[in-house]
Assembly symmetry: C2
Homo-oligomer: 261 residues x 2
DNA sequence: CGACCTTTTGAAACGATTCAATACTGGTGG
DNA sequence: CCACCAGTATTGAATCGTTTCAAAAGGTCG
């Protein structure tokens, strides 16, 4: 597998995505002994995957690792619009259908499958389940943006940070990457600032305050443990259950069934 | 027509939507002389159309007038996530597919057609053009949220206000509701504050400053005339042309053609 | 006309940013 | 192995932009 150690992906997730996109995240060996991957490409942490304004493939499927979708203002200030986690399907095209309206970057080593508009359409037409899954993922993405926008516009720093941690916890939980409200974020405080619209300095202060209040515990630069989930939810203004219903796409049993892997 | 005076809708737009949704915005008279409308419902300005957390129809088509899509924090602070203008198709459902993750309100008298998930699916399956149009509208909506989120997170008050005016100008232009960069917003400064994440007081100050700088001209509570488009674009950090490509769905000649009306 | 909502402006208070200095981390090469 | 480096985290102090509070003016409607 391309991605080194840190992130272990749920095999069911990978199976689902491989089936849907025709991509094989891990290299296969053909009959001549040559390694290849179908559709999927690997990128190293920190690498740019797509630039704003560039012509892009219609759809990106994240097979492995984290990507960030961001935009920058003329003065260089960057806003992370969303994170792409394993299992996410990202459409970064603008309304004109051809150019990207977002910059896409690899936060960790990642494996990403890029599909053309035509290819994506073909696959969706062939599989109503895929279409439904894509619709759910899009609805989840939209709901995430809305929740975040609410807090960007009207929330204080603690609200934004608490919400960000809660959102990422819920999303990671849904793909099996948390244990008892403990999880790792492959981010710097700078990233978290770009995500929450705060300066990295203020992110630091706010995290330390939450830490001193025994609401979270941090280790090793953003290994997060949520100690007091109720308190964190209280600050964020939403609980994990309602948040999950809103921003995590419902599992698709048909597609996830072992027989389809 | 249900909507009084202020907003005149492009007949082509209404034709397009009526065909797609099966709704007739204006009352029809059946053979018994009884007035009726199919699917579409009218709401008065200020009326709530849907509440957050409520079970909702999957899709709302705005036939006439403005609606706002908003969320509120526990302390009562509200953020307007997006406006729905004539011709927009709004899906307010959360990822769970059943409940609304947004509050929907009528800003003017409006005519809105509500479609169930099943109905919407059926229509999309029957018409690839409809599916494509819906995809474009969704991409446009996503691009709008992204642009706005960038400025909510990283932009100063003038940037946010300038962008909001520019976005609304571009959107209104695309449905024929501007004349020479002059347009009417059916909003209060309070609304504009909820849209831009600013207090209404600061919206006022910022508008007056833009006005004093001869960049815009305001009359009659939010009749806006953009005098210096270049300057406004400069502040907003994006020009009208690029913005239009990003956030306005491409017209669909097949559907808009008179023969299909 | 009065009641109510919206806009406008000033002054004080608050929260977040910026600047700056120090400490910590992991990786590199002598 | 240690020294060094660049990037990151942490903390304090000063500054800045926005909010809040308050008061007055304008508009609309019964």
């Amino acid at each position: 597998m391309a991605t080194a150690g840190a992130i272990e992906v749920d095999p069911a997730l990978r199976r689902r995505l491989s089936k849907l996109t025709g991509a094989t995240g891990s290299p296969e060996v053909d009959k001549h002994g040559v390694q290849f991957t179908r559709n999927a490409r690997d990128y190293k942490a920190g690498q740019a995957i797509a630039f704003e304004g560039e012509e892009v493939a219609s759809v990106l499927c994240v097979l492995d690792g984290w990507i960030s979708l961001s935009k920058t203002l003329e003065d260089g200030e960057r806003q992370i619009i969303d994170f792409g986690l394993p299992g996410d399907i990202v459409t970064a095209v603008a309304a004109d259908g051809t150019t990207s309206c977002l910059e896409v970057d690899a936060l960790t080593d990642v494996t990403v499958a890029a599909l053309s508009h035509a290819d994506w359409e073909r696959r969706q037409s062939a599989s109503p389940e895929l279409r439904e899954m894509a619709d759910h993922l899009a609805a989840a993405s939209h709901a995430r943006l809305s929740e975040r926008m609410l807090r960007l516009g009207k929330g204080s720093a603690p609200v934004r940070i608490a919400y960000a941690l809660l959102e990422l916890c819920v999303r990671l939980r849904s793909i099996g990457q948390t244990q008892d409200h403990t999880f790792h974020l492959p981010l710097t405080q700078q990233h978290l600032g770009e995500f929450t619209g705060l300066s990295s300095v203020h992110v630091c202060r706010t995290l330390r305050r939450l830490s001193r209040q025994q609401i979270i515990q941090t280790e090793d630069h953003l290994d997060i443990k949520i100690i007091d989930l109720a308190a964190l939810s209280g600050i964020a203004g939403i609980g994990p259950d309602r948040l999950q219903a809103e921003i995590v796409p419902a599992p698709m049993p048909t597609i996830l069934a072992p027989g389809n892997g």
